[in-house]
């Protein structure tokens, strides 16, 4: 742990000014007591500098982090301090505000990520001026995480493409898929558990054993979001936020969502079931290369989210 002196407190600055003056007085008036006082002040100065540094060197820091975070939303790092001095602590990357530390601590350290990405380590800063409060020393501790912290973008409000917008029943979005499965694909032998209403009596009569209707499964409308993070970093963050907003809105509407992104290892196409997966995928997404355009489920409605406003694009899926 590298410790550095970060500054003098205001009383320390004032003390230095007074001491300089007193030294001059002591040297010219011949006052022995003044030299005693100045020696004591020098002792205070040495202790004020040395003890914070030594105290920080003794401190042991453990930090663990949750797996997920979102830009602009607080997350809690678990901070465990042993042999820590009285002072303050804060998360640095991701950044957080100062909290007081009164010795040993085992508690959450709040941080608010300001950028999307995958963090394999977090940094925490300890600062102390113990015990006299005159000189501040600080130490920044970077801890490798057991698992990466994936910070997703802050979702922006986004509207679904009109073709995928559902009506409302007065209680909000309808969660029912657009195409409910009620087509009969064929008949099959009854199996325990089949609903009575599915019994096809006509086929039963023909077959001589209990037959039931075999229905088509429900078809869920699918949205493919093609996330293009190329361009300036600020634009990329904006794009990611828009993509997140769109994906969450789609998930909320019960759509099947497929994200098409580029990660460090290459293009990734995959469906996301939960909001947290949206955050993780977009946390891992990087710019640099054009996003893939497939493969996508048949009939998937594709939206490109990029430097320009979201645009439906023709892709392997359904045209708008």
């Amino acid at each position: 742990m590298s410790v550095r002196l970060t500054g003098l407190s205001r009383p320390a600055v004032a003390l230095l000014a007074v001491v300089a003056g007193l030294y001059g007085v002591g040297r010219t008036t011949g006052s022995g007591w003044l030299m005693v006082i100045l020696s004591a002040v020098a002792g205070v100065g040495v202790v004020a500098v040395a003890l914070p540094v030594l105290a920080l060197r003794r401190a042991q820091v453990e930090v663990s982090a949750p797996q997920d975070g979102t830009v602009g939303r607080p997350l809690e790092l678990q901070l465990r301090l042993h042999r820590a001095p009285i002072g303050k602590a804060r998360a640095v990357a991701p950044a957080g505000e100062w909290f007081r530390v009164l010795g040993a601590v085992d508690g959450p350290l709040r941080a608010v990520p300001d950028a999307r990405g995958v963090l394999s380590r977090v940094s925490v800063e300890l600062s102390t001026a113990t015990p006299l409060g005159l000189v501040w020393a600080a130490a920044r501790v970077t801890v490798e995480l057991e698992h990466p912290l994936e910070i997703g973008p802050q979702p922006l409000d986004a509207a679904l493409p009109p073709a995928l917008q559902l009506g409302t029943d007065g209680d909000g979005d309808r969660r029912r898929p657009v195409l409910a499965g009620d087509l009969v694909r064929g008949v099959r032998v009854y199996a325990p558990g089949d609903a009575r209403k599915l019994v096809d009596w006509r086929a039963t009569a023909r077959a001589g054993e209990l037959m039931v209707k075999d229905l088509e499964g429900p078809t869920t409308p699918s949205l493919g979001i093609l996330v293009d993070l190329r361009g300036p970093a600020t634009t990329a963050e904006q794009t990611a936020s828009e993509a997140a907003g769109l994906a969450l809105r789609a998930l909320g509407a019960g759509l099947l969502v497929t994200l098409l992104t580029v990660e460090r290892e290459g293009a990734v196409v995959g469906t996301v079931d939960r909001p947290v997966e949206v955050g993780r995928r977009l946390a891992r997404a990087v710019g640099g290369a054009a996003p893939p355009d497939g493969p996508l489920p048949a009939g998937c409605y594709v939206v490109r989210v990029g430097p320009s406003r979201p645009d439906p694009v023709p892709a392997g899926g359904r045209q708008p």
Binding site: G32, M35, A40, V46, W98, F99, L102, G107, P108, P131
Partner: protein, 713 residues
Amino acid sequence: MLRKANAPRPPEDSVALRVVVAIAVIAATTATLAQGVGGSGLRVAATVGIAFGFAFSHWARHRDGYLLKVGLALGVVIAFASFLDAVLGASTGSLAEIQIPLAELFLWVQLLHALDVPARRDLLFSLLSSLVLMAVAGVLSISGGLAVYLVVWGVATASSLVLAYRSEIGDLPPLVDVHGRLAEQRSTVTRPLIGAVALVLLVATAVFLVVPAAGAGRAVAFPAQLPSRVPVPDQGGLANPSLGADDPSGPGAGPGQQRASFGYFGFSQTMDTSLRGRPDDTLVMRVKAARPDFWRGQTFDLWDGRVWEQSDHEPATRRGSSPIELRGSVEDRAILDRSASVELVQTVYVERPGPNLIFAAASPQSLYMSDNAVFELNDGTVRTGVELSRGAVYSVVSRRPAVTESILRAAGEGRVARPGTVDRNVADRYTQLPEVPERVARLARDVTASSLTTYDKVRALEAWMGANTTYTLDIPPLPAGADAVEQYLFVDKQGFCEQIGTALVVMLRSLGVPARLAVGYTPGERNPFTGLFEVRADDAHAWAEVYFPGVGWQAFDPTAAVPLAGEPFSSSAGTGLVSFLAGRLPSLPAQAPEVLAGLGAALAITLAGAGAVRRRVAKRRALAARTWPDLFLERLEVAGAERGRPRRASESAIRYSEALSTSVLPDRRVADLGHIIETAAFGPEGVEDRERRLAESVLHEAASASPTAGREP
């Protein structure tokens, strides 16, 4: 921006912080008052008012108090006006004269400020101003009494800093766990405070031992004070009330008057070496000076074989406002005008009434004192026209040629003292002798036979006396008619400074070397805290001064060493600290080392025992906190590891015990131990004691049957 910088800070709610700051401020205030600053009104106002002010500030810390601030500002203006009035009324305008008014101004400001310290920042400012006040007390103090105030102030200041820091940290939000509980442990203040104070003391002592001594630079303040102006009976004459009936001023001294215990018979117009008895160790004066020196009072030039006398009975009056310029002797002026010299500023604080002599290192050039006339003899002796009673203070600027041993050896080589010159006049006056006993003169010649220079002759005579005579304060009376020097050198062979100094002067004169006897005080013990030399009555001394052509008078003394003016002299503030403290410790009985060693050993044993008991208790508690399955699994792991089969991280107790039973602990029963452990740990009813004992005995037997390497079964 200005408004933001001056924005009121949140009020400080910590009563403890306020109390310790108040203690620090009151300690500094009373320390300053103890130096004689302020009248009775200020004393009462400061001591009571500051305590009240801090209490009031705490009570009113949430109020704006605009009217109060206006009133305080007005009070500061009045105090400053009073200070300006005192400064403008000062007679000389020297820094020394405005010290007291300045200290009073500081006190008033401190008092007024105490009424308005609502926030932590205000308290810290108050603490800082108490440092200034304590420094003012330090400048004014010349005694060790300040130590008590300093200790109280130091502890209170350290406590204030610690508490202020805690208060500052306390402003930050705490870490709170998911249950809303504080995720922190409260820590105490006392322990870090004691540690910090101890460390500060340690470092401060180290700094004190190396930092340059105060006053090594040029002094800008020349204190001068006369507590009372009592003229001596004979203006220009010598008066010494401490001699009682022997006071040379005569008329006021009756036969019934006793000599004071600190009276020294050398501070008279004559000095009879047949007299015996020495003054006690009463503190007679303190001297503030950058380096030690002989504080010379006067010299004697006429010797009659028993009594020294001064030949100059017509002192010249030196008048003027402070400083009074002194002329010194002719030979001093001639040399100081043309050679490099070293300046030494001394301030003398008189602690006991003594002679009206100005004590200073040779040669005094300027005198700062609260009188406008002094009297100077042609040897440079300075007498005042007033009695120097306790509390009198004067400052002297002395100069003496910057000489070293080599310069002294070369002095006068090849020079011939022609009639009418300074050297010749000095030789005529200071080689005068009555009839010197032949064996004294012969001894001087014999001892210095191989010495080529005056300096070497002096050193040879000093060395001879050091080797062949003894310094003692207990010598027999001088027989009637006996020559004092002959008696000392050949009969008694022991004496004190008067005999030794006189013998050196007489032998040098017998060799034709100009010399005289000076009386005054040795430097005294330097008090490392005040930086002042504490001169006691038994530091009264007589020594020889030898004239070197072109160099002037130089002091020599076989019994005391004083550095030459040209020799490098360095002194740290803490010089002599250890010996000073050791000298003030109560004397220990003879068996003290054994007693201390025994106590130390007992203490060490007690501490070691207590430590062992503490560790044992802690271990027992830790063990008691662990369950039998944990402990027994640990024993199983140790038994396996010692035989080369440690438990793997992924291995359960059952798998491990089975593995041991087929490898390093080949006992079929060992395989069951894992089951017993897991049943004990996780089973709904655990295992009975009988099963535990059985498991332990199985492990013991298996381990005994399969010893580790180097251990017999």
